[in-house]
Symmetry: C2
Subunit: 204 residues, 2 copies
């Protein structure tokens, strides 16, 4: 899946005997990765779970990979240094790619502040990647602060916090931009659900 | 998902708004992890791909995670030392658990020689894990040697090769045991497909 050379030698990739078309037919739609990116408190998890609910009701096969959930399991060994963030996003990009290959609509909810890390995730998905930018400004996010994290970060109690003492690199050319500072959750969910319906139909 | 304490602090698990029952209904079956374990050349990948093909034809939503494929992507950074093998299996166990949580039938094809590593994968899946032991003996596997790996390992050209200079710990109490030395592929596929049908029905 990746461009890197595996550390392990003497390995041979094995072909699936199920075609992508068979997976499409059984699910009624194409698989894909819909990658939400934005500051903490921009609404990623809330939006992701609401999109999953709506798409499931519409008959799509959907799964949300959420930053905090993944850090309790697959990425339990990673923190928030730039290196750990890069590895966090690299792994999630690969897992999302596998799930999309299985035919699922994968919604990911990760701050994913570095452009290069998101580009790595895009490459892993081989043309099935869609970047969705939650463009809420830092002042709005700080004012919301539902978990009190900005307050802690400003007080120096959390280090490497995106937007405070760690950078956020906004997407240059996202497939979808949501104004989650201005538009309410229903409007944003509708915008993404319609986008996914449009790009994931069998004849697209 | 895991029992370990996350390295990262200030993270909060987020609940999906889609229930397991909804996922069952939309797919027509329960998700689960069906973990093939056995020596190199015991038939794991061949069997896994054949099971995926048969179950897909029967309308199941299935995906194979194969050792060699995963080492080209998610686990591109890992080799075959005991530590790397443990991390390989830990990550795959977590990914399989996520996919089963999404409602998929996940077939994994990994040597996974250490009992403890397989038990870690079992725990990650929270009751959805089924161990399937491909009980082909080492002599049969050495005689098959489709990729010439045993020959290389015996000549000392590959280090840490399971069954030669690295151990294989057979399962104590697998849910299914296949005699892949004696039974042909069709018989073994049928045995696993029937098992999966039995345990993954909606009313089980």
């Amino acid at each position: 899946m990746s461009q890197k050379t595996p550390k392990s030698e003497n390995i041979t990739e094995v072909e699936h005997l199920v075609s992508h078309e068979q997976r499409f037919r059984i699910k009624g739609h194409k698989g894909g990765v819909f990658w939400l990116t934005g500051l903490s408190a921009s609404g990623k998890s809330t939006l992701a779970m609401a999109i999953e609910k709506d798409l499931t009701r519409l008959g799509f096969h959907v799964y949300v990979l959420d930053g905090d959930n993944v850090r309790h399991g697959l990425n339990v060994d990673l923190g928030f240094s730039p290196e750990d963030r890069a590895e966090n996003i690299r792994r999630v990009g690969e897992v999302a790619a596998l799930m999309a290959d299985a035919g699922l609509i994968v919604i990911t909810a990760f701050i994913s502040p570095y452009r290069q890390d998101r580009d790595t995730a895009r490459k892993a998905s081989h043309g099935k990647f869609h970047e969705i930018y939650l463009a809420a400004d830092i002042e709005t996010c700080k004012a919301r602060d539902p978990k009190g994290l900005y307050k802690k970060a400003c007080a120096g109690e959390i280090k490497d916090f995106t937007g405070i003492d760690a950078p956020y690199e906004a997407p240059d050319n996202p497939e979808v931009t949501l104004d989650t500072a201005k538009d309410n959750i229903e409007i944003c969910v509708k915008q993404v659900v319609e986008y996914i319906q449009n790009v994931s139909g069998l004849n697209k």
